[in-house]
């Protein structure tokens, strides 16, 4: 049993990620998760990584080793349940030993805590003016900080302390503080969807026009081929831009427009195949035993053309994906739809360069390239299956 080509395996992998990936994300991709332009966690650099820790009835104290400048923010969220009437306090200790009370609890019951260092109430509790930074008060210098719950233990519940840090996730954040990895995973769908459906439309068009042209011959044929020639000799991207600009930037408009302007290559190939088949003895014989035109077209020419069309689909998808990405990169796509091209557009338009945010550029760019390579290779192997002469060598 032969091992399938790498491209087929990769394709199914990508497909799986496109389907399962968005479901497995805990937060929506549009949600802000960290500060803008946070580099990936693994990238090193001066910025602190995100920190999170828990306080619970069992561990009432938490040490935070902080070797960076004060973090952007600090959040403390959770619930604590006290069975008895108590007086408990959440205390923050700086390396110098200064203590700040962040919150205190009087009485019994369930306490919900939702503290954000940027909130006015938080600053009021600390006794600092509204425009001062609470975190620079809590992190005056580098070293060991501590958060502790003073007083009797709660019976249940927990508190989560989160310091966003300057780095985030596997692929960092974009200009709005969104998680790039989530955006990247969600973006696969648009590339695949647009690429495949636009090429499908184009191939159907190309197949029918090519078959018609080759089979009808005569004036119709030469007229169609002239049209193909003309369409092939004008730059398509400007036309697409104009059409998108006029028709609107929706996903399906885009698919339709791309499909309408990329059938020419397939039509040409199918036509030449139809021409050669029409003249072949085999079809002559069919005709001589009284087979009708439609019968021949449907039962013989179409199956012959199928592998070619399939290969054309696979080879055409990269073109459509690149066109979609190009248009999105130019900003001619729906801003609400996340796609790789759109990500690059925003990276280019919203200052990824002044921030040196390579993590906004490399993932979507490589993603597009890899998908294109996968489809190219699949197309080639389908071509080889259809035409054994292409096997081996490959070049030359």
């Amino acid at each position: 049993m032969k091992v399938p080509r790498w491209s087929f395996i990769t394709f199914f992998l990508i497909l799986a990620i496109a389907v399962i990936g968005p479901m497995s994300l805990s937060k929506g991709p549009q949600e802000t998760v960290a500060k803008p332009f946070a580099p990936p966690v693994w990238s090193g650099g001066d910025a602190p990584p995100p920190f999170s820790g828990n306080l619970s009835p069992n561990s009432k104290e938490m040490n935070i080793e902080w070797d960076w400048d004060a973090p952007e923010n600090l959040t403390l969220r959770g619930q604590l349940t006290f069975d008895h009437d108590v007086v408990a306090r959440l205390v923050w200790t700086t390396p110098e030993g200064s203590k700040y009370t962040l919150s205190s609890f009087h009485g019994s019951g369930v306490w919900s805590i939702d503290l954000d260092a940027r909130d006015m109430t938080f600053k009021t509790v600390l006794g600092i003016p509204p425009f001062a930074s609470a975190t620079s008060l809590l992190f005056p210098s580098r070293g060991l900080h501590a958060l502790s719950l003073e007083g009797p233990s709660p019976s249940e519940g927990s508190l989560e302390l989160v310091l966003p840090g300057g780095r985030w996730g596997l692929l960092g954040t974009d200009q709005r503080g969104r998680d790039v990895l989530s955006l990247f995973i969600v973006g696969i769908r648009v590339s695949l969807l647009v690429g495949i459906s636009a090429t499908f439309i184009a191939s159907l068009l190309g197949l029918s026009i090519g078959l018609a042209s080759g089979y009808l011959g005569g004036v119709a044929d030469s007229l169609i081929m002239r049209i193909v020639d003309v369409l092939l000799s004008i730059p398509i991207l400007p036309i697409l831009m104009v059409l998108v600009g006029i028709w609107g930037k929706g996903l399906w408009q885009l698919v339709l427009i791309l499909g309408l302007f990329s059938w020419m290559g397939t039509a040409r190939t199918v036509r030449s195949l139809a021409l050669s088949l029409r003249e072949s003895c085999y079809v002559e014989n069919l005709r001589s035993i009284g087979a009708g035109s439609w019968y021949i077209l449907y039962r013989h020419l179409l199956p012959e053309a199928m592998p070619i069309v399939l290969a054309a689909v696979s080879l055409g998808v990269p073109g459509a994906i690149l066109a979609e990405a190009g248009l999105s990169f130019l900003g001619l796509s729906d801003p609400r739809i996340i796609s790789w091209g759109r990500m690059l557009h925003e990276a280019h338009g919203f200052g990824a360069f002044t921030a040196g945010a390579w993590w906004l550029i490399i993932p979507p760019g490589l993603g597009i390239s890899i998908i294109c390579l996968v489809f190219l290779d699949m197309g080639r192997s389908i071509e080889e299956m259809a035409d054994p002469r292409l096997r081996g060598g490959g070049q030359g």
Partner: protein, 325 residues
């Protein structure tokens, strides 16, 4: 000879008419009111009336089209909504930039690609051939703007040796020489990126054609004549392979013009492609249409130039006894 040229000229006229017709119908028929795409709603009633007359908006459609064709051919391209100036005035200064970008990129990438392709064909299995095959597949599947963005990030941010944006520095440096140098400095990265993206496909095509040509009998006979290897390679093999190379060049032209839009956007160059994008984004229909028309014209003109080169390269056309194919 004549049949070749008349066919080519006819083709060019057909493409030109198609571009003009596409322009006419796209911008006029598509979104609702015809007037709104030509006449800015903010114009004064008198100005609107004048434009109405100028465009013949009250006449039947075919008369409007004829007027439109005449205006296009005389570069009377309308008034921009955004700047309220004649579009042609705005475009005029941008055309040389686009031509310089595409022309130099095309020349350099084809020269490099041809040289590498010939070298690869001569030494099958060598390092050059591997480089050619890899760079070819890169240029087929890597989106141009991605490669350009990475280059920009690397050469304008990490190692800031090139400018981040624009065609010239602001303020302009003093002196003609300094200005020329400044222009070149701004052009280098865009052109370099286009060359990097383009030479691979050239090299692959040339290599494949040369491998085929080098297997022909006439090359064996040239070798039997004891001609030096370089002469066989360039004077005999390459010249024979040149016509199909030019055919591929012709087929690649529209894509190259499309690439101008992307490149000019990435590097914020003052060119026709960027103008097209800005106009579309700003719903400046006359400007968008005009930029589209100019890009179409650029394609047609370079198409004709390539046709002329083809005729020079292939004696079967130059003398024209037998039709090609």
């Amino acid at each position: 000879m004549w049949s070749y040229w008349s066919r080519r000229a006819l083709g060019a006229v057909a493409v030109l008419l198609l571009v003009i017709a596409a322009n006419f119908f796209l911008f006029r028929v598509m979104p609702g009111d015809a007037v709104s795409t030509i006449v800015d709603p903010r114009f004064s009633p008198e100005a609107k009336e004048r434009l109405r007359e100028l465009f013949g908006l009250d006449l039947p459609l075919y008369r409007q089209f004829l007027i439109y064709v005449r205006r296009m051919l005389t570069f009377d391209l309308g008034i921009s909504f955004l700047s309220q100036r004649p579009v042609w005035e705005e475009l005029k200064s941008r055309i040389p930039n686009t031509v310089a970008l595409l022309g130099s990129a095309l020349f350099l990438s084809s020269a490099l690609g041809i040289w590498l392709g010939v070298k690869a064909a001569r030494r099958r299995g060598g390092l050059t051939e591997k480089l050619v095959l890899v760079s070819g597949s890169v240029s087929f599947s890597f989106p141009s703007f991605f490669v350009q963005l990475v280059l920009l990030l690397f050469f304008a941010y990490t190692f800031p040796v090139f400018p981040l944006r624009g065609s010239v520095s602001i303020p302009l440096p003093e002196g003609a020489f300094a200005r020329a140098l400044d222009y070149l400095w701004h052009l280098l990265l865009p052109v370099g990126s286009l060359v990097l993206l383009g030479f691979g496909s050239w090299a692959i095509y040339v290599r494949n054609l040369m491998v085929k040509t080098l297997g022909e009998d006439f090359i064996l006979l040239a070798r039997a004549r004891g001609l030096p290897e370089g002469r066989i390679l360039w004077n005999h093999a390459f010249r024979s392979a040149l016509p199909p190379v030019l055919t591929i060049f012709l087929l690649a032209l529209p894509g190259i013009v499309s690439g101008a839009v992307i490149t000019e956007t990435v590097f914020s160059l003052h060119g026709v492609g960027k103008y097209l994008l800005d106009s579309i984004m700003g719903h400046d229909y006359p400007a968008a249409g005009a930029a589209f028309y100019i890009l179409g014209l650029l394609t047609i003109v370079s198409n004709l130039a390539a046709d002329a080169a083809y005729a020079l390269a292939d004696p079967r056309i130059r003398v024209g006894r037998r039709a090609q194919r």
